[in-house]
């Protein structure tokens, strides 16, 4: 969380200043976009969800009833996760929607710059990543949210529970079930080449 977010959280009572909000948004934008991208597995949806997240945050901050935020980053993460869950719920009914097109995939690949110089490693990581994404799509919405927050954001159980508004035991149960479904992919991810 950036200093601007701290200031935003500390000073915010009734109306958010656009400049403060802009700076805060810039500091959080990439993290929120990637979180949405991982939750929704779709570039365009993630873009829309990120925009919705910041709009909701802005509207909420400008609500006269809004209270001081203890942790603006966590609060924003909760908005993003709920926005993604809403989108995933409505997507369930949109079975006619096409899969991401080639252009989307190219944009995603172009977006990702690998720091690994070894082409074989890169190819392997991409293949595993693809399998992991496919497997994540089979998870229930809560399982997906819990796994994404744990795997990509390295959040603690307590934080995940707070973001998802669940108790820690329920989060553990969701994560346990998610792990049961993803175990094979995760095994290949971590143990494929044996212990180094």
């Amino acid at each position: 969380m950036g200093a601007m977010a701290d200031r935003l959280g500390a000073n915010l009572v009734a109306t958010a200043d656009t400049r403060d909000f802009g700076a805060w948004m810039t500091s959080e934008q990439k993290r929120i976009f990637l979180l949405c991208r991982r939750m929704l597995q779709d570039f365009g949806d993630a873009d829309a969800a990120t925009q919705d997240t910041f709009l909701k945050a802005w509207q909420s901050l400008n609500n006269p009833k809004s209270k001081e935020l203890d942790d603006p980053a966590k609060w924003l993460t909760r908005i993003a996760i709920n926005t993604c869950l809403d989108r995933l719920r409505s997507k369930r009914w949109q079975f006619w929607r096409r899969r991401p097109g080639g252009e989307d995939e190219a944009a995603i690949l172009g977006m990702a710059a690998s720091s690994d110089p070894d082409a074989e490693d890169r190819l392997f990581a991409k293949e595993i990543d693809r399998r992991l994404k496919q497997a994540v799509e089979k998870l229930s919405l809560r399982q997906r949210a819990a796994f994404t927050l744990r795997h990509y954001e390295d959040r603690s159980m307590a934080e995940i529970a707070e973001i998802l508004d669940l108790d820690v035991g329920t989060v553990k149960a969701h994560l346990f079930r998610a792990m049961e479904k993803l175990r094979e992919e995760l095994h290949d991810l971590y143990f494929h080449r044996g212990r180094k």
């Binding site: 656009t18 925009q51 509207q59 172009g110 796994f147 795997h151 159980m157 095994h187 971590y190």
Partner: protein, 134 residues
């Protein structure tokens, strides 16, 4: 001493298993924990997102902020489409419920009535006559 299994390591990595006495004392398992932590950090490294894309996204957000609260079109769209669907379904089904019995012409009605009046026997007896005639 029994070493941790791969499942144990996975569960520990995802917060489902706590470190126990074995893993604190076993050098091999500790080394494996370290390796997995490094591996996980590498695997979940944030990909680069182009600055142009993020700038364009911010412009879109500012544009939407200037337009004020989003319209409720998304919600209304569902309401309208559901209402239209119901109208179509009712439009197709209600006329069938109210469909009248096939109309009979007056001539046909009089012919049927007079036929019934002229015959002394109920119609159901007619097939029995054939039995006696044989």
């Amino acid at each position: 001493m029994k070493h941790w299994t791969e499942n144990d390591f996975q569960n520990w990595l995802y917060g489902l298993k706590d470190e126990d006495q074995h893993v604190t004392e076993c050098a091999d398992c500790r080394a494996e924990l370290g390796r997995l932590q490094v591996e996980r950090r590498r695997l979940t490294e944030e990909p680069e997102v182009s600055a142009d894309f993020l700038a364009a996204q911010r412009r879109s957000i500012y544009n939407r902020l200037e337009q004020g609260p989003a319209s409720n079109w998304a919600a209304w769209r569902w309401v309208l489409s559901t209402a239209m669907l119901l109208a179509i379904v009712f439009g197709l089904t209600i006329p069938r419920w109210h469909q009248a019995a096939p109309a009979i012409s007056d001539d046909q009605l009089f012919r049927d009535l007079s036929a019934m009046e002229q015959s002394a026997e109920p119609k159901a007896i007619a097939p029995m006559h054939d039995l006696f005639e044989q």
